[in-house]
Amino acid sequence: MIATNVRRLALYLMLSFFLVSGSLTWWQVVQARSLATRPDNPEVIAARRALLRGTIFDATGQPLATSSLVDGLSLRAYADPAFTHVIGYSSHRFGATGLESAFEDLLVGRADTNPIRDWIGDVLARQPQPRDLSLTIDRRLQDFAAAQLGPDAGAIVALDPMTGAVLAMVSSPTFDANPLAGDPADAQAPMDALRNDPGDPLLPRARHGVYVPGSILKVFTGAAALDAGVITPTTTFPDQPRQEIEGMLVDGFLITEHDLGGITPQLWSLSEALQVSSNIFFAHVGLALGQDEFLSYARRFGFCAPGIIGPADRALSFASSLVTEAVAGDCGSFSDNAELASAAFGQGATLVTPVQMALVAATIAGGGVMPAPFVVRDVREHAADHVRSDTVLETFNSGGGRRIVSSDVASAMRSGMLDAVNGELGRLFAGQADITLYGITDARSAGKTGTAQLGGDRPPHSWFIGFAPAQEGGTPAIAIAVIVESGGSGAGRAAPIAGRIMAEWIRISR
């Protein structure tokens, strides 16, 4: 009897040994490569000290990040602080961030674009071949955009609405990454200074800065309501003109209009409501849409889950949330209709990131299709002297768009946003985003300002999202989101910045 039980035990123990053997095989063979390329691997850190990294170029072949060997130590140099929050840094002391981290294995040549070459390289124990990257960002536009913000805190994200290629991505304040990438012995003090800086220069605001959106969210609310069929471009709300003055009572909470600058309230439809940025109108739209539809469209717009800037397998992440008390992986919910109505015009419990809002603008510009954003154009062979090689190993394209709303809805919103910049009423608020002011006379820009109230004595955030060319028959070349933290009204600060950048890009791309 005991002998029988011992035999059964032997079987179970044998299974346990097999299980442990399987676990060993998993780490020693299956996971070996991914372990060997993790940036926090001490061997990688040690080996990196001597490894030449590939050069990172802008879209036109200007070198932005270069490596050189000094006494056997590989040192990274960065040409332009405006790119720090895109490229990140590669430090012997602090590891890698941004694209330096996402493309670590390719840059140092520990992986190749072609898995078969990878395998052959392993077998032949080949020396790592660094690879170079080209960004989708044109340094001229990036520097121009960074100069518009100057020392002010804020962020700018510009995309090609048709392909999703990132044209500019500025986070301000930025910092010079060279001290971190240089001699590891001298890197601690500059890092401490950055960490203790109250301006938080280490935060990549374009991707991870979360802000109250203010009125720019009306673009989302309008598009969602049109697409759901609860309003049309001519829908009006009879109580709205009276409530512009008296306020609108929702669940015991009084919603009031912002300062209309002397404009007499009338019965407004979508276009006028966008032009004067009527909170009351969009509160009605939000209530008509209802919480469930509102949140369902929020999910469709990608508001409720973190996103990525591609290419997909070596991506930069961006944060995304709509309702402040978000539950993990979703938008959460509004506790009452007052919260829903406030969210519908971008106040209350809502938070967004600049990348997200640039994607909303790109969706309207792209006829209702949201492009998948990407920031690295191609991988090339490494060439000496920081010159871009002509041998392209892999090209990244748009990851494909996602239809969010119908093209009719996008067309109606485009028309409303065009009016918001160029219309008789809209000009009073967002006229500074008109690209004809900045020398582009044969095209028009569209957009929406936002003045995000923060409560207390803090000045509001100044927002603008928009795109150009936006006139009937024009093909949009740039969609943009601009935020200046505590920059005052959207009209005063963000709108002219966006107008200048859109005009500059049209000029450059001609």
Partner: protein, 443 residues
Amino acid sequence: MGIAWRGAELRLLVPILLVAPLGFIVTNIALTGTLAAGPLGLALGYGVVILVVHVVLVLARHRGDQLLLPAAWVTGAIGLVALNRLPQDLAGTSALGFDLGMAATQLLWFGIGAVAMLVIAIGLRDDGLLRHYKYSWAAIGIGLLLATMLFGYEVNGARLWINLGPVGFQPGELLKIVLVIFIAGYLAETRTVLASARMRIGFLSIPPLPYLLPMLALFGIVMLVVVRLNDLGTALLFFGTFLTMLFVATGRRSYVLIGLILFVAGSFVAYELFDHVAARIDVWLDPFADPLGAGYQQVRALYALGRGGLFGQGLGQGLVTLGGSTTIPYVHTDFIFTAIAEELGLIGSLALLAFVAVIVFRGLRIAALARDDFSALLATGLTVSLGLQALIIVGGNTKLFPLTGITLPFVSYGGSSILVSFIMLGLLLSISHRSVVEEGAPS
């Protein structure tokens, strides 16, 4: 009976005696480019221990299992080569004016362990001493634990050590044997009653309480003390050994099931109650969340496994050092398996695991052939204790289980561990010998 030549054992010892010195030589040349006398001395010493043990057993006409020792010796040889390859100042002793490095100290313990093993394997002609005084053994065990609680000192957060003159000793190691003896004695007496359980709760049958209580009580005390001493690995080992012996004694899977349910429930309570348990579980689930802090040990172990790959870096050619120390923590004790896996690759690590498996399956064979219930249960308990210990630490190194700090038998550096493992081998050999001599079982 005539003389037993132990020919099978001798044939298996020959390749070990030939290959083990090669391991020391290759490592030494790879590391220093020259061949020093020290490693050759270790190889020679180890060979002498192996041969002396063999000759003594032959002279004593010992008919115990012939595969057990070769498997243990080859496991030990791999461990000794690995220890000799590591920086020798990680551990060591100085006695009688000699400064012994880590590997030399380990070899010394192999010698002491071999003597202890021979004394037990040859001297223990009758198991009455073990069988009839089981409560005394239990008392000794509890005494050991209490002594550790009162007089022990902490190493790495676990209070496991007692100072005995010049050497530190881990009573928990000895407790393994004492506990197995007690449980074997108790189960041998009560197994018929336990196996014919009548009480049922739902689909689970429960053993009669009067027979189970003394054992559960003792076990509860032990577990409590071990948890109190913050030694989770040993707690897991004791519990697993106990459940396995209960299963072998009664043949009831439901007891194991109840035990596992209790264990999971207990772990959950511990997770909620004790921060250090919760922290360990979190690290286990995602060590990469904090690779330089809480996840440090696990992450470094996984990196070493990954570096090893299929064929390994080669003896003496792995183990990257940063700032003069290896990147694997506790590389000579808890993580020696990962160091071996790095230099010998998956092929080497699986081979090492296979040698441990040979020890385990020979031990179980001894249990299956044993002449009485007590011997069978004792052999099962000792074997499972060795086997589970290896599975727990290797499983912990590979993130299969939460990482716990216990040694790999015959491989990790540590006198208590080596000595106790050899005592276990001695007991197994003695059981095996008696079953061959008295029952005519195949040797």
